[in-house]
Amino acid sequence: MKRQIYTGLNLDHEAFMAFAAPLMQEVEIKDRQEGIRAFLEKRAPNFTGE
């Protein structure tokens, strides 16, 4: 996120969205899946750092 914010300052919207799309794939990690699962189950997430 931090990298996105700083990099995004120097890109136009189109270029930023192209830059960000692969990052969205990179973060298909366990914590994200747990976050979405917790949201759907209406409970607090249990993040593990994975």
């Binding site: 996120m1 700083y6 890109l11 969205m17 960000a20 994200r32 917790a38 949201f39 759907l40 997430p45």
Partner: protein, 213 residues
């Protein structure tokens, strides 16, 4: 091509096209179909001289809480060959920014996550003073990379406040959002409709834009 809109209400009056997210039973959470319907309506109005201003809002209790995580499936077949933009949030945001007409988002109740991104892609935003504006995706869902907001919010809030809003999940109400520059203005619930009408009709009274505008 005629498309049957199911998740977006379409109303035009006095040069103002109002598109309303219309899934109140799901608090207007967006699906792939919602995105496609919005895109189609926006692309259709781009060349329509009778539309001078586009207002984007939500039916029911709030604007939009983000995506319906159970509704982000395949693109409905009737949209497969009729859209110029990709039927995703990046495409929708680009379409709003490219549209040769002023766009106004009306935020009442709540705008969260990519729902707030949708409002941020509009040219103007009017928030009900008590509306809740929040990016919960990093803190609550472990999403460390996001589209739209990471580009829009530093430009609206400045980097310092954007870091706080995006990474620490600081919530804003409509008044705070107006003071911080995230929205154009805030209005009480009683004054919201007058504020929207006033803003929507001001650009609709100026001469039509030239192709180069």
């Amino acid at each position: 091509m005629q498309i049957d809109y199911r998740e977006v209400l379409h109303q035009q009056s006095d040069g103002v096209l109002t598109l309303s997210l219309n899934r109140p039973e799901k608090r207007n959470a967006m699906t792939t179909r919602t995105v496609a319907e919005l895109l189609h309506a926006l692309e259709q109005c781009a060349g329509d001289a009778s539309v001078r201003v586009v207002v984007l809002r939500g039916a029911g209790k709030g604007f939009c809480p983000g995506d319906d995580l159970n509704g982000m499936g395949e693109l409905p077949s009737e949209f497969s060959s009729v859209l110029d933009h990709a039927a995703n949030h990046a495409g929708l945001q680009s379409c709003l920014r490219e549209l040769p007409k002023p766009t106004i988002a009306v935020i009442h109740g709540y705008a969260f996550g990519v729902g707030l991104d949708l409002a941020m892609a509009c040219d103007f935003r009017i928030a009900e003073e008590s509306a809740q504006l929040h990016n919960q995706r990093v803190l609550e869902r472990g999403m460390h990379a996001l589209t739209g907001c990471a580009w829009f919010q530093p430009r609206a809030l400045g980097v310092t406040r954007a870091m706080e809003f995006l990474i620490l999940g600081k919530p804003y109400n409509g008044r705070e959002a107006a003071d911080a520059g995230m929205v154009t203005c805030a209005a009480t619930a009683d004054a919201l409709e007058d504020t929207v009408n006033d803003m929507a009709h001001r650009p609709s009274q100026v001469p039509p834009p030239r192709p180069s505008d």
